[in-house]
């Protein structure tokens, strides 16, 4: 079953604009990760934020985490056509013998040149 839900399901913007994607999840987490997938190929790890962190930056990426609302957002600044891809949030849940990542359904981002 899917743990999270990304919002929106699809997003179309112009090059140079910022893109914001949101993710909600259901259970307590150890960390939350964002991945990118180009054209149905393999997933590329973008950034990880731990449950005790509220914000993290990596290059043009900014991730926030609100554990009280069980939500996260990914901001891509100054988008480029090469950022066109599907973006997934994935949670790693704490406790027990759980070793899996649980993914949301993803946001399809299209950046128009």
């Amino acid at each position: 079953s899917q743990q999270g839900e990304e919002d929106p399901q699809a997003l179309s913007i112009q090059e140079g604009e910022n893109a914001t994607m949101n993710c909600s999840y259901k259970t307590s987490i150890n960390n939350l990760q964002w991945y990118r997938q180009n054209s149905g190929r393999g997933l590329v790890h973008l950034i990880l934020i731990r449950s005790n962190e509220r914000e993290k930056h990596s290059g043009r990426l900014r991730v926030t985490l609100d554990t009280s609302k069980k939500s996260s957002s990914l901001l891509i600044t100054a988008s480029r056509a090469a950022d066109t891809a599907s973006y997934f949030c994935a949670t790693y849940n704490s406790g027990g013998s759980n070793y899996k990542l649980t993914f949301g359904k993803g946001t399809l981002l299209t950046v128009n040149p």
Partner: protein
């Protein structure tokens, strides 16, 4: 340094047949996880292998089985294929003590069941 590799890239099978997918982990990694990604969906966890043992299993029927070899490579077997098994199958590798935050994915095998 080679990343995670998977074979074959594409595969077409008929309902009822059996299929074997292969994964070689990133050099130095000892843990392999398999995910199924249906069209338009996020990946879903099938199982994880460490030291040739299944460490955790997701909500998949027994038709899905796996194996890990002494060199850490892994196979995913699916028996009695159904149309609904058509999907992209992703392999991810990690180090055991870093699997919670550092998993590397292969390019996937696209399986089509007709």
């Amino acid at each position: 340094d080679a990343g995670v590799t998977q074979s074959p890239t594409h595969l077409i099978k008929t309902r009822g047949q059996q299929v074997t997918l292969r994964c070689s982990p990133k050099s130095g990694h000892d843990t392999v996880s398999w995910y199924q990604q249906a069209l338009g969906q996020g990946p879903q966890f099938i199982f994880q292998y460490y030291e040739e043992e299944e460490r955790q299993r997701g909500n998949f029927p027994d038709r899905f089985s796996g194996h890990q070899f002494p060199n850490y490579s892994s196979e995913l077997n699916v028996n009695a294929l159904l149309l609904g098994d058509s999907a992209l199958y992703l392999c991810a590798s990690s180090l055991l003590d870093r699997s919670s935050y550092e998993q590397y994915f292969g390019p996937g095998t696209r399986l089509t069941v007709t």
